[in-house]
């Protein structure tokens, strides 16, 4: 029971007035009977002073506000922050389990240096000084040999001061190889750049839209900022907003939508083009917007009319003609229609074709940068650091092309292409990458073709992980320099994925660091100082905290007080003038690159003869599949039709099962061109015949015994498929076969 000072005083006074009124005595009796009879071997949680700390959850790019309840110096419960623009008190189950990550057995408790072979799990503790000097020495050697470009950094994000410090460090050091983890944001960024000429964040004004066409986006399955999307979804229910979900499997989003339209996987762009055909042909588009602000409409229109009539599209997508026409009319005639793409939880990109085609639909109905539409949101501009000091070595290093090919002649406008890295390393000269740093990311788990990624990592002489947890990447590193977990550190947290209003949150220490960990920002600053010269000069701060304070300026006090800053009245850039393209308009055809919304099939791996089935992944909010794995509480929510013991179930339409001679619960071997694994069959009417669906988020080999060794990692069975237009990984599945085990 919490009695604050004031409460206590009034209690005493109230006590004098009449304890007889008190409900307390009986309650105390009830309590004491419970407390005193406690069995000695079950823990009795100590009571103490209760307090609350406001912070931000950074376990995904949702960036929810949190209020953490403490008893003395223990954090006992994470709750959603009331009044926060993202989540207003609600929380996802991963965020709610955050304390199991803080106090959990998967934490790396001190800097570790590998002693056995890579991945063998043999470590020795070393001091922070030794760890940092070891890294600095190696970096100094690489640089003095004139190869600074062979140092790379993989980061979960490229926004906020921490990621910017990584990038800054590499630039000052002389390497262009800063890489961000892939997501559908890659596709959107490129699309907005090519069609609107801007580098911005894609924002979706779902709150004000009234007709949603989702090309497989898992609106309530973790896409965008998950809690915000849940809230939006509930608002849609009350406001009778139409939601049309297009995907081959009945996801939760599909089940909750007004209409689920199953589609042949990988043909979403064709459907978007088919819808465009109907809209153009029947003149249902926003004529004023198209006339005044859209460039290239007539050329594109002819192609659309020519190539994508509903019959053609019906045969590609498997959706009948009537449905296509009705959908197109419904979309175009709605007052605030919005089309969105990015399969599942949005952590994989889509082909440029698909994203451009969907963006073209939005342009046709004139909802670019408008209420209820898709916005190009600019990042709040608060990071203004002194210019980077660059010596000759840095300048020379930066002349080199990026190892992932982003920004190269082939892919000039794509910013990051991490999935291409393993191949480059594998096929390149001896050591294209001599040192790799990884922070806020777990590429050895989340990257397609895990085996190839591991082989590539084996060719990198020094791998340094900043992970707070013993994840797959940390387990295969040479050095682990554990960061504080998000509940132990300061960090600025920029606008959540997909939001239209700019938000800056402040993640702050809820409890003191539990172990001998160090803020990764501090480690980078120390590395820079250790290297000396221009690199050190680029980092004029004593510590990360002072850097953050200085960067935020007046905002610091505001954030310390309020927990977040947000521009609730944010307006979109004016739809008429917000294009920085050559024509100053929204360009359906980019003349420089020839990019145009269209459909070209993305051909996936494997041939039909050997692999008669198609394997696709599915995402569930109950299975975290990013750099964080499921904590024990979240594992408890995984249904027994998904995981039973150590066996994961693949979903199969009963028809497919019949054809293959398989039944419910049967153990089978699932083989793809990339690998094979034993799984069990679960019959599900909600999946198209001919497909096999496997959840992402299982099959961890590291982490803790509550998660590791259960099920199969989807990424072990699939490889990336390079989109020829963007270089992004556009794989939506892989061919597969099932055999009785």
């Amino acid at each position: 029971m919490k009695i604050g000072r004031r409460g206590f005083l009034s209690f005493v006074i109230g006590g004098a007035a009449g304890t007889a009124l008190s409900p307390l005595p009986w309650k105390m009796m009830d309590d004491s009977s419970i407390w005193t009879q406690m069995w000695p071997w079950t823990p009795v949680p100590e009571d103490g002073e209760a307090s609350y700390v406001n912070s931000v959850c950074t376990l995904c790019s949702g960036h929810c506000g949190i209020t953490v309840r403490k008893i003395d110096n223990r954090a006992v419960k994470i709750e959603g922050m009331k009044g926060h623009p993202v989540n207003n008190g609600g929380m996802c189950l991963l965020g709610l389990s955050g304390l199991q990550l803080l106090y959990g057995p998967m934490r790396v408790k001190t800097p570790l240096k590998r002693t056995g072979k890579r991945g063998q799990g043999q470590w020795k503790k070393i001091s922070w000084n030794d760890a940092v000097s070891e890294v600095v020495e190696k970096l100094r050697d690489i640089r003095s040999e004139g190869n600074p470009q062979t140092v790379g950094f993989i980061s979960g994000s490229d926004r906020g001061t921490v990621s910017r410090l990584f990038d800054r460090f590499l630039t000052a050091y002389g390497s262009p190889n800063f890489m961000r983890m892939p997501s559908v944001r890659d596709s959107y960024e490129l699309t907005q750049y090519l069609m609107q000429g801007v580098q911005a964040l894609p924002g979706f004004d779902f709150e004000n839209a009234d007709f949603i066409v989702s090309f497989g986006s898992g609106i309530i399955d973790g896409w965008g900022s998950p809690v915000r999307m849940s809230r939006v979804h509930s608002a849609w229910q009350s406001a009778d907003v139409k939601v049309i979900q297009i995907e081959p499997r009945l996801s939760n989003t599909a089940a909750k939508s007004d209409k689920w339209i199953p589609i042949n996987p990988g043909t979403e762009a064709a459907l978007a083009m088919g819808l465009a055909h109907v809209i153009v042909k029947e003149s249902l588009y926003d004529a004023a917007f198209v006339k005044n602000y859209v460039e290239g409409f007539f050329d594109w229109k002819n192609r659309v009319i020519d190539k994508y009539n509903p019959d053609t599209v019906a045969s590609i997508t498997g959706i009948d003609r009537g449905t296509i026409v009705v959908l197109a009319r419904g979309f175009a005639n709605a007052s605030k229609p919005l089309a969105v793409c990015g399969r599942g939880n949005g952590t994989t990109p889509v082909s440029l074709d698909e994203c451009m085609a969907v963006n073209a639909l939005n342009a046709l109905v004139g909802n670019i940068n408008k209420k209820g539409g898709v916005w190009a949101v600019s990042e709040p501009n608060y990071i203004n650091w002194p210019e980077i000091e660059m010596d000759a070595k840095a300048a020379a290093g930066l002349q080199h092309e990026r190892l992932d090919g982003a920004g190269s002649k082939t892919y000039p406008f794509t910013r990051y292409l991490l999935p291409r890295l393993p191949e480059t390393i594998d096929s390149g000269e001896k050591f294209p990458l001599q040192a790799l740093f990884v922070s806020g990311a777990n590429p050895l788990y989340t990257h397609p073709d895990t085996r190839a990624v591991r082989n590539a990592f084996d060719k990198i002489p020094l791998v340094v992980s900043f992970s707070s947890y013993m994840d797959e990447t940390a387990q295969n590193a040479d050095l682990i320099l554990p960061n504080h977990v998000y509940l132990e550190r300061y960090e600025d947290v920029p606008t959540p994925a997909g939001m239209i209003q700019p938000v800056i949150g402040l993640s702050r220490p809820v409890v003191a660091p539990q172990f001998d960990t160090r803020h990764v920002g501090d480690v980078v600053i120390q590395m820079a100082k250790g290297l000396g010269g221009s690199v050190a000069k680029t980092f004029p701060w004593d510590s990360y905290d002072s850097c953050l304070k200085e960067t935020l300026g007046d905002l610091w006090n505001f954030l310390m007080e309020e927990g977040f800053w947000s521009n609730t009245g944010a307006m979109p850039p004016f739809f008429g003038t917000s294009y920085e393209t050559a024509s100053g308009k929204f360009e359906l055809i980019n003349k420089d690159t020839g990019s145009i919304p269209q459909f070209k099939p993305v051909s996936i791996e494997g041939d039909e003869k050997d692999y008669p089935l198609l394997l696709i992944p599915y995402d569930s909010i109950r299975l975290a599949c990013g750099f964080i794995g499921d904590p024990p509480f979240v594992m408890k929510t995984v249904e027994d039709s998904v995981l039973k013991g150590k066996d994961v179930f693949v979903e199969l339409n009963p028809k497919t099962a019949r054809n293959q001679g398989l039944r419910e619960g049967q153990r089978v071997v699932l083989t793809t061109p990339k690998g094979k694994a034993e799984v069990k069959v679960h019959l599900f009417e909600g999946i198209m015949p001919g497909l096999v669906a496997l959840p992402r988020g299982l099959g961890h080999t590291a982490w803790d015994e509550y998660l590791a060794g259960k099920g199969i990692n989807f990424n072990a069975l699939i490889g990336p498929v390079e989109d020829p237009d963007s270089g992004l990984d556009a794989a939506w599945g892989i061919r597969a076969k099932l055999e009785k085990a």
């Binding site: 029971m1 919490k2 009034s10 209690f11 007889a20 307390l24 309650k27 009977s33 419970i34 009879q37 406690m38 079950t42 823990p43 949680p45 009571d47 954090a75 006992v76 419960k77 709750e79 959603g80 989540n87 008190g89 609600g90 929380m91 189950l93 709610l96 389990s97 304390l99 199991q100 803080l102 106090y103 959990g104 057995p105 849940s230 809230r231 979804h233 509930s234 229910q237 009945l250 939760n252 089940a255 909750k256 199953p262 539990q514 909010i621 109950r622 509480f633 979240v634 408890k636 929510t637 027994d640 039973k644 013991g645 009417e685 909600g686 198209m688 015949p689 803790d704 015994e705 509550y706």
Partner: protein, 276 residues
């Protein structure tokens, strides 16, 4: 101790869960585990052994592709009132008075220290809302730090279940008492699942208080053991007469139908009867 001087009217705390809004995300399950020191084990895939005071069930309409539909249904303890006040299925069978019906709040309690593990209550609960501790809880080294002092961890051999976060009621009552207020505001006492649900699908409050949202949503009919008057509302296994305090809302008929055991050839879901 005489009750009722500060709480003259009996309260009947209950829940309305909007299944149109529920996304099946499982936040309510985890919020409950975190709030109530619920233990966990290395393998939680045997759902008969997995302790989840709040459990989200997946229902399907049983139709073939592509007509199949799925709906999620969160199931806390229904806090059954029975046909006479306090005649809950579980309470009436407990030989140890380890589970009791509170007239003041309508909450069915579970007093772990009295429970000797006969599990009669588990057998009698038609909603599988009760769980048995077959093992002592074990938290990995260091993790016991997050345990809340407001809820006592349970030991091997006792039954546990959803308490409507009863400790929150006590805390709210204490606070109100200290501030000299005889009555709780609607938002002062909310369960952990209600608070966490990102979709706002759960509403909690006093079903006896016509001003509380729950009563407005479910429109319980006191003449008919609280049967809902709202045609979209239903209770699980209504026909058993357990008189639960958890109501569900759904606009889909097959979901409402799934809430009770209907015979195959029974065509229509009976609409709530309105007598005068």
């Amino acid at each position: 101790m005489k009750e009722g001087r500060t709480h003259k009217k009996f309260q009947k705390f209950g829940m309305v869960i909007d299944l149109d809004k529920c996304t099946g995300c499982g936040s309510c399950m985890v919020a409950c585990m975190a709030e109530n020191n619920v233990p966990f084990r290395k393998d939680e895939s045997n759902k008969l052994l997995s302790i989840t005071w709040m459990r989200v069930y997946k229902l399907t309409n049983g139709m073939p592709f592509p007509k199949i539909d799925v709906c999620y249904l969160p199931r806390p303890c229904m806090q059954c009132e029975g046909q006479h006040e306090g005649h809950s299925p579980c309470v009436s069978v407990c030989p140890a008075i380890a589970t009791d019906y509170s007239m003041e709040s309508g909450i069915v309690s579970q007093i772990y220290t009295r429970c000797f593990g006969c599990r009669y209550c588990m057998a009698s609960c038609p909603y599988h809302a009760r769980y048995f501790n077959w093992w002592d809880p074990i938290w990995p080294d260091g993790m016991e730090k997050y345990l809340s002092p407001n809820v006592s961890p349970r030991m091997r051999g006792v039954v546990e279940k959803c308490s409507f976060c009863f400790h929150r009621y006590q805390l709210a009552k204490d606070r109100a008492f200290m501030e000299g207020r005889p009555e709780l505001q609607e938002d002062e006492y909310q369960t952990a699942c209600t608070q966490a649900c990102p979709a706002g699908a759960i509403t909690f409050g006093d079903l006896n208080n016509p001003k509380h949202t729950v009563s407005k949503m479910a429109e319980p009919d006191p003449k008919h053991s609280g049967r809902p008057k709202n045609p979209n509302a239903f209770r699980l296994l209504e026909r058993l007469g357990t008189n639960p305090k958890v109501y569900y809302l759904s606009s889909r008929e097959w979901v409402r139908r799934a809430g009770d055991n209907y015979l195959k050839n029974e065509k229509k879901v009976k609409k709530p009867v309105h007598h005068g």
